[in-house]
């Protein structure tokens, strides 16, 4: 993969919330097929960084390019770019008024103009993949948190994105449900999906991450392979964070 163009290129990005500098001159390249795990204390800017990639947060300085398209370019069609970027939220955000199946088929039918039958076929295959096809006719409120999050992953996959963004996907889950969601993510990683994951699950970071990024106070403090990261953390703040969390 050496020398390949990064599929996500983040350059000198800054973002302010009023006076607060949420992102401070952040640069990060992510290659196609790479799994990048972003960790850091709460308020470190890791979720904000993830959300700038699909422009749920706008940026105040710098540039972001996804698959060669500059998001800060006025001419860029953000809705098109977002179709390439699947996103999974901490709070699932399934559409409450739609059944599981229709949560998956809504966007492909309306945006990609896929025929209803085909969209449903794809949806059922994805639901089988995340192990929840039998709940296809349920409404989200009838599912457990873990089930909802698996549906949310399937919904994002239904658009056949090139990249998947995960914003603390297990943080709102009861402990016994975290495993089922992580399993789905591990399988997805094995299939070669490009993944950017904000998480507190260090086990997942170690098992799946090609690269781990540690953020604090809006800056990337340290980047490295999981082995390097968990065995020889260099920066004192990272060492302190790992001591607290492990």
């Amino acid at each position: 993969m050496a020398g390949a163009d990064p599929i996500i290129r983040i350059r000198n990005v800054s973002k302010f919330f009023g006076q607060l500098r949420a992102l401070d001159n952040v640069s990060l390249d992510i290659l196609s097929g790479e799994k990048v795990v972003i960790i850091g204390p709460s308020g470190s800017g890791k979720s904000t960084l993830l959300r700038t990639i699909n422009q749920l947060e706008t940026i105040d300085a710098g540039s972001i390019a996804v698959d060669g398209q500059d998001l800060t370019d006025q001419a860029a069609d953000i809705n098109k770019i977002r179709m390439e970027l699947g996103m999974v939220f901490q709070s699932f955000n399934l559409f409450h008024h739609k059944t599981v199946l229709h949560n998956l088929t809504l966007a492909p039918i309306k945006l990609k103009k896929i025929a209803k039958e085909d969209a449903e076929k794809i949806a059922i295959r994805l639901l089988e993949k995340v192990g929840i096809a039998e709940k296809r006719n349920c409404y989200p409120a009838q599912l457990s948190g873990g089930q909802q999050q698996r549906v949310a992953i399937a919904r994002a996959l239904a658009m056949n994105p090139k990249i998947m963004l995960f914003d603390e996907p297990t943080s709102a889950l009861d402990p016994e449900m975290i495993g089922e969601v992580l399993d789905v993510m591990v399988n997805l990683a094995k299939e070669g999906m490009t993944m950017v994951v904000v998480t507190h699950e260090m086990g997942f970071a170690r098992e799946v991450g090609d690269r781990v990024v540690f953020m604090d106070e809006g800056k990337i403090i340290e980047t490295g392979s999981p082995e390097h990261f968990f065995q020889n953390p260099e920066h004192p703040r990272l060492r302190k964070f790992l001591e607290q969390i492990l």
Partner: protein, 261 residues
């Protein structure tokens, strides 16, 4: 977390009974069966003049319904656009919608009716019924706009973000994701507005529209039976609004919760 059930309480319609509300339910029953009972008693035991009245008034009831239904349909459309305008990021559209709401809410409905019917009537001749419907929906559109706005704003931000993240633009997000959910939230207040509007249509009797109240006035002025006539008119309004509030309550439960609880 996934709960986003928000109830908005606006309006001055009859209270909408729900299953849980035992107290309300019995109040509803008392009022309803009381009204129906009195109606039957009066017709059966005092057919003169009540039987004559009950034959005379239905034309007016029909007009009342016609005005109510036309006005509510128009008010829903006006309200939808007003609500969308009120949350619009376009400052001009936003200002127009907000000003409309402010102006309408600051002028009594009766004055608005007079204005559209008599004052504007000097310039444009509008048929009586149409003027009444336009005036009612102009006024109620503003209230409905506030209901829509509140309903849209009650939908969790995450729904919008999820929709954006799939590639939907703002309009698609509104249409496919936000509004369908908002409609469930606003059903009770819209039902309330519907009932309130039905009652307020009695104001159009001042214009030359022969609604229920005006038919009553016609009957009374010929027969001089004011007590009997207005007793009958009041009972009929009461029965209609009570039935409607019951229907809204049932609809609310049906539309309900998409599998919640």
């Amino acid at each position: 977390m996934s709960e986003n059930k928000v109830t908005i309480d606006i309006g001055d319609g009859a209270a909408i009974p729900t299953k849980k509300d035992r107290g309300l339910l019995s109040a509803w029953r008392l009022a309803f069966f009381g009204a129906v009972g009195s109606l039957l008693y009066l017709i059966l035991f005092h057919p003169d003049p009540y039987l004559r009245l009950i034959k005379f008034l239905p034309d007016g009831i029909l007009i009342t319904f016609q005005v109510t239904i036309s006005a509510i349909a128009l008010a829903l459309v006006v309200g939808l656009f007003t609500g969308l305008g009120r949350i619009s990021h376009n400052p001009i559209i936003n200002l127009i919608a907000s000003t409309y709401v402010e102006v309408v809410r600051g002028i009594p409905l009766l004055v608005q009716l007079f204005y559209i019917y008599y004052a504007l009537g000097q310039f444009v001749r509008v048929p009586d019924m149409l003027a009444a419907v336009i005036a009612m929906s102009f006024c109620y559109g503003a209230y409905m706009g506030e209901v829509f706005r509140a309903g849209i704003e009650s939908i969790d931000r995450g729904q919008r973000e999820a929709s954006f993240s799939l590639g939907f633009n703002r309009a698609q997000t509104m249409f496919y994701v936000i509004l369908p959910q908002a409609l469930r939230t606003i059903l009770p207040p819209v039902g309330n507005e519907f009932i309130a509007l039905l009652k307020d249509t009695s104001l159009v009797s001042i214009l030359a529209v022969s609604d229920l109240l005006r038919r009553g006035r016609e009957f009374a002025s010929e027969s001089f039976l004011y007590f009997e006539t207005y007793t009958m008119v009041a009972i009929i309004y009461l029965i209609i609004t009570l039935i409607l509030s019951k229907l809204v309550g049932i609809m609310e439960e049906r539309m309900g919760n998409h599998g919640r609880r």
